[in-house]
């Protein structure tokens, strides 16, 4: 739902942007011919497909990035030395739509889904349904050793590892140093809270950007607030639709209080209820830009925009970063956790052989580092952040590493989509949130939705 930047831009540092599709596709006429043949076979519908013999092909469904995953696929194809080749296909932008595309095909036992870039919140659902191939103990050890705990937790269901952490993400607090100075606060000071931030912004007439649109990013925000207040949205997820729903708690009410406070203050953007990441970032660049919680991509994006002259050249130098704000001064915050885990489809032809091998190749520390430098997406292994090259490219690398270490995953449940959509539905728009009623109502609604007693 949003606008924002670029379909493509010449990337700095000589990386040609060839986006989701730099992959070559010179076979267009062939495709058209196949289509004609297909039409001729209308009724049968056999048509198309068919391998080109020889090398086994692994299909890797990737979330959109700047082309980094496609380049990794090439690298790992080369490394395989002809044993297999990896072909990538891009999924839609929005995490919910990515799942939509995959889950229906998995349910239909599609054997074309060899490797999938999964948002951590969808692993449990696919694992529980038997759509993913679990890793054995030896593999699991290899994929989880030296990996952020939240990533491992999100990839595990009922004690088994179903996906290999590939990259990890978190939000930190981004702010304009000049604004913080004028408002008289130091966001980097220990114990900086949401209340302090909102009050300061209101006082000095600056904005606080967050993601308040009715989409997964809003759930990210709610979950981070609830977790930072010491609570959680649901627990005992293994009981399926009988899981215990904990959002109606002091922590849930505290989260509601903060959202309401921001949404009803003049520090909130005019379109908070439809803002996603890019709107928040554009507001930070605006004349009243002050603070923003956002993912790590911000750094690259801000520098690119400054380079292209669409924002003031001085903005990147004015950009400060600090840990995710706290809910209570005496309790460390639990920033959001995101990223991508690699799952192997349970019905693929090469699930026990080449697919595992390819995942191993993609997730080596070297490739994670390469991907981080290429795409700007943080690695899933803390060690990568100590690399001098990474430190040079991302001055806030240490903060991001520490934030991912402290991050709280969103509820790990096979019913995640329902839980998330139900919470969003009762907590949206942000200005309507009421600490007295919203947490309770959302708990009731989540319950009803899980039992299929309500529409969503």
């Amino acid at each position: 739902m949003s606008e924002g930047a670029r379909g493509g831009r010449g990337d700095h540092g000589g990386r040609a942007r060839n986006g989701p599709a730099g992959r070559t596709r010179p076979r267009a006429p062939g495709r058209a011919l196949r289509g004609l043949a297909a039409a001729a076979l209308l009724a049968g519908g056999l048509a198309a497909c068919g391998g080109d013999g020889g090398t086994p092909t692994l299909h890797w469904y990737i979330n959109p990035d700047n082309g980094g995953q496609a380049r990794l696929a090439e690298a790992c194809t080369k490394a395989a030395g002809g044993r297999y080749r990896i072909v990538t296909s891009v999924l839609p932008n929005d995490a919910t739509q990515q799942r939509e595309q995959l889950i229906r095909r998995l349910a239909a036992e599609d054997d074309q889904l060899d490797i999938m870039s999964l948002d951590p919140v969808f692993v449990a659902e696919a694992a529980n349904a038997g759509f993913l191939r679990p890793f054995d103990t030896a593999e699991a050890q290899r994929f989880t050793r030296g990996v952020f705990p939240a990533a491992v937790q999100s990839s595990t269901w009922k004690g088994r590892l179903y996906a290999a952490p590939f990259w990890a993400n978190t939000q930190i607090l981004w702010y304009r140093k000049s604004a913080a100075r004028k408002a008289g606060v130091d966001p980097a000071s220990p114990g900086f809270t949401w209340d302090q931030m909102i009050d300061a912004a209101v006082r000095a007439n600056f904005t606080v950007g967050a993601q308040g649109s009715k989409y997964e990013g809003y759930m990210v925000w709610i979950n981070a607030l609830v977790a930072s207040a010491g609570g959680r949205i649901i627990s005992r997820a293994e009981r399926g639709n009988d899981a215990s729903i904990d959002i109606d708690s002091p922590a849930g009410r505290e989260a509601a209080r903060i959202i309401r406070k921001l949404a009803r203050s003049k520090a909130a953007g005019p379109s908070l209820s439809t803002d996603i990441e890019e709107q928040a970032r554009s507001m930070l660049n605006g004349p009243r830009g002050g603070f923003m919680v956002n993912w790590g991509y911000t750094w690259r994006a801000e520098n690119d925009d400054a380079e292209h002259g669409v924002i003031d050249k001085g903005i990147p130098a004015d950009l400060g970063w600090a840990p995710y704000p706290r809910v209570a001064a005496n309790r460390p915050s639990r920033p959001p956790f995101g990223g991508i885990e690699l799952g192997i489809g349970a019905y693929g032809k090469y699930k026990d052989t080449h697919a595992v091998d390819a995942v191993r190749c993609i997730t080596t520390p070297e490739n994670m580092k390469k991907y981080m430098l290429d795409s700007g997406n943080p690695a899933a292994r803390p060690e990568v952040f100590d690399d001098p090259e990474v430190q040079r490219e991302f001055p806030m690398a240490t903060l991001i590493r520490d934030s991912i270490n402290a991050a709280a995953p969103r509820p790990i449940t096979p019913y995640y989509t329902d839980v998330s959509a139900a919470v969003q539905s009762r907590w949206h728009p942000p200005a309507s949130v009421n600490p007295q009623t919203t947490p309770r109502r959302s708990a009731e609604f989540v319950r009803a939705v899980l039992r299929d007693e309500a529409l969503l």
């Binding site: 493509g8 831009r9 495709r31 239909a108 690259r300 292209h308």
Partner: protein, 276 residues
Amino acid sequence: METGRSRALWIVASLLILLWTIFPIVWIVMLSFKQPGEIGNVRGFFPRDWTLENYRTVFSTGLFTSALINSIGISLIATFVGVVLATLVAYAIARLDFPGKRLILSFALAIAMFPVVSLVGPLFDLWRDLGLYDTWPGLIIPYISFALPLAIWTLSAFFREIPWELEQAAQVDGATTWQAFRKVIVPLAAPGVFTAAILTFFFCWNDFVFGISLTSTDRARPVPAALAFFTGQSQFEQPTTAVCAAAVVVTIPVVVIVLLFQRRIVAGLTSGAVKG
């Protein structure tokens, strides 16, 4: 009959109509020439720095080029098959006497009113079982069936107007059946068939619901679906300007068709629908 004042009024009205219909198009064209980073940072109707970057982006993006090929191929095949099938039906309805004629017409009408979204779930399962999911035929078949009603009405209305006696007259004059059909009927029927083809093509070209539900890769995904799934530099960034460049590219053929065949389309839409 027109007085000077009312003449001026009609002219003003015509100009307003031109503005109203063309304006949104001009707007996407403007957006498509903006720098990607201008969105959210520099506002205004016209681009600050004109750039072709977005066009370069969409054409270097496999997602779009393959969607374009898919859309063109799928729509053309569906149009061709659909119009052939509709011609057969329309001919039967206009010329032959057989039971179920009215039933067929009512059935076609019902299909035209069908809520497509109700079908996508079951259709998805069916296509999976038949191996049609994410293939060209997987879209061609639904396109045909939902475009058929429009084509059938348009054509049967056209065919009713054809003076079929001429065919017999030609035969009396010594032409063979085939000659009579080819020399007399085909030229009379061609405009109608052609109109039906344009309308069917527009219908297929416009589809969105099937496009997003029955495809999953660039193997078959058509343009409207691809537009909605366009992706930016990272998963958080939205490619507004690139979407617009792509939109302009797929709008050009529509504008050309409209410019070339304006009269036929108007005739087709009006004759097929309401007859006095």
